[in-house]
């Protein structure tokens, strides 16, 4: 992996691994169907920018999710860069089998929802049903030679239906997934706490991380955050300060559950904005900011509407800093504070 190889040059505790979700979670909520060639172009550009793991497509029901009906075509058409993992998402055995056949890089995932109500609405399964489905997946993973997984706890910080999710409920969900893994003979590389609907705050990030850590100190925790209410990067900063070193993000802030009523506002934390924060705070990501910004502009051209990421508009601070061209300051900038 590109990220992993880069991590060799940074102090390990300062290396932040960023997993790109844009091509998968980002495009699934677009109103118009995105051309396969456009998706492939974005994925290839993201790999060129240094991303080591890119979630490229969903192997889900083609009728229910027409935006993702071309999952196989994406993996067939991709020009792959060495060391990069091109992954897909699936929710059941059929999806996993499709992913295996497609040539996607297989990252086994086991998931549950901290909010049972959300699980019922989003995955049509109650808590027991979710876990039963994960057991079936786990058995299939082991049959395919996969004995490591990434765990996902959806709605770890709040749910549209149940409201705030107490940290104890996150602990229960993690416990459930660990139990399933143990039954199947699968260990976890990371447990991803997902702020599925953008309910998280620095305080709730702190509470959930603290509660899970105190129970399983050796378990690597990751964050999948949405910027629905503007707190995405503040929450990510809190995670960084508390030692989280893996984050799921989305180029240009693409995607997210449109439940909030405004697609642009509900996306994942923006990859390039977060990478910029990391760089400014002294963390190493192995990512090329200028290339990431070019990816974000490409994503915006592909979807055909403005996307919420900020850095793509302004550029990293210092890019334009020069004493030699001060006349570019517009009059309308005066008086400024």
């Amino acid at each position: 992996m590109t990220n992993a190889s880069v991590s060799g040059s940074a102090a390990p505790d300062r290396f932040v691994r960023i997993v790109e979700e844009g091509p998968r979670e980002g495009f699934q909520t677009e109103a118009t169907v995105i051309a396969t060639a456009d998706k492939i172009a974005l994925i290839e550009a993201l790999a060129d920018a240094g991303l080591g793991e890119i979630n490229c497509a969903s192997f889900t029901n083609r009728q229910q999710m027409p935006q993702m009906a071309d999952a196989e075509a994406i993996f067939a058409g991709l020009a792959r860069r060495g060391g990069v993992r091109y992954t897909g998402l699936w929710l059941n055995l059929k999806g996993f089998e499709r992913a295996r056949a497609s040539g996607a890089d297989l990252v086994a995932t086991l998931a549950t929802s901290a909010s049972e109500t959300f699980g019922l609405r989003n995955n049509q399964r109650d808590r027991a049903g979710m876990l039963e489905a994960q057991r079936a997946l786990g058995a299939a993973y082991v049959g395919a030679g996969l004995t490591r997984a990434t765990g996902y706890v959806f709605t770890a910080f709040g749910c549209n239906f149940e409201g705030a999710i107490p940290a104890s409920q996150v602990v229960s969900s993690v416990s459930d997934l660990l139990q399933v893994g143990q039954e199947c003979g699968i260990g976890y590389d990371a447990m991803v706490l997902c702020d599925t609907i953008g309910a998280g705050t620095p305080a709730s990030v702190r509470a959930a991380l603290g509660a899970v850590r105190s129970r399983w100190p050796a378990l690597e925790l990751a964050l999948h955050l949405h910027d629905t209410r503007g707190l995405g990067l503040a929450n990510a900063l809190e995670g960084l300060r508390l030692g989280v070193r893996r984050f799921d993000t989305s180029v240009a802030g693409l995607g997210g559950c449109p439940f909030a009523g405004n697609r642009g506002a509900a996306g994942n934390v923006c990859t390039e904005d977060f990478a910029y924060l990391c760089a400014q705070e002294g963390y190493e990501t192995g990512l090329d900011l200028e290339r990431l910004i070019a990816c974000a502009s490409l994503a915006e051209r592909i979807v055909g509407h403005p996307l919420p990421g900020k850095l793509k508009n302004a550029g990293p601070f210092g890019r334009h800093a020069t004493r030699s061209s001060p006349s570019t300051l517009p009059v309308s900038c005066r008086p400024a504070a």
Copy 2:
């Protein structure tokens, strides 16, 4: 002041004072001239939402700043709410005299730029010239019976021309303003460090606050932040954590220097998003979030284009939380993480 009276009910160290900049800094960068009645409607709605100090207009050159040519008309037309300060901005004696005559609530301000190059471009004055102008203002303030001021240090975290601004340069600027104040017999209620062009990061906020505090421990420091590169709320959170209790913000994220090439991206930190962060982190602002969101929607209708604030699109978390209406979750939300 509304804010001040509310602060009586919160532990003083948890009360955050928010100064609204939208009507002044926000509208000055709009391409179309905003109707005076619209400005007044927004200002009155902001006061109803609990803001205790609202910067309503600039008393600047009407030819150079046609958006602000109606400053007097705004103050003449406002229906004022008791305890709210309706302030204006001026940069010179002529502007101050206009403000006095207009009936604006007078908050004396003394300002300089940490980046001398920016001061030259923005205010057409070098460091010595800036300070000379502040001395003249200071004398006029004392003549008008004003012996307390708010200090502003522009470009405290970086400048488009000079690049990063070291904390020592911020200390020099604060020292300059304190010196001018002392010469004139004026004390400071607060010293506002301004991230004029959105160059700030949590690290530079920390560095500047730390350097100024270690020299003047009793001086109240405030932050005026822009969200040009997405770090606005992360920087604000850092300020909160470091004890800053006064912030300049802008409803809906209005305004800001358009230098970044994208007006929507360069605005001030958004009032309602920041107030939401404060509430979630256990700080008291005295603001009514739902009314603030209504103000943000009004601001968007007035300017006629989307504004960057997020909370106005999603609403505070929990507003829609109910177990009784789960059928509203859209199909396109699946599968979510």
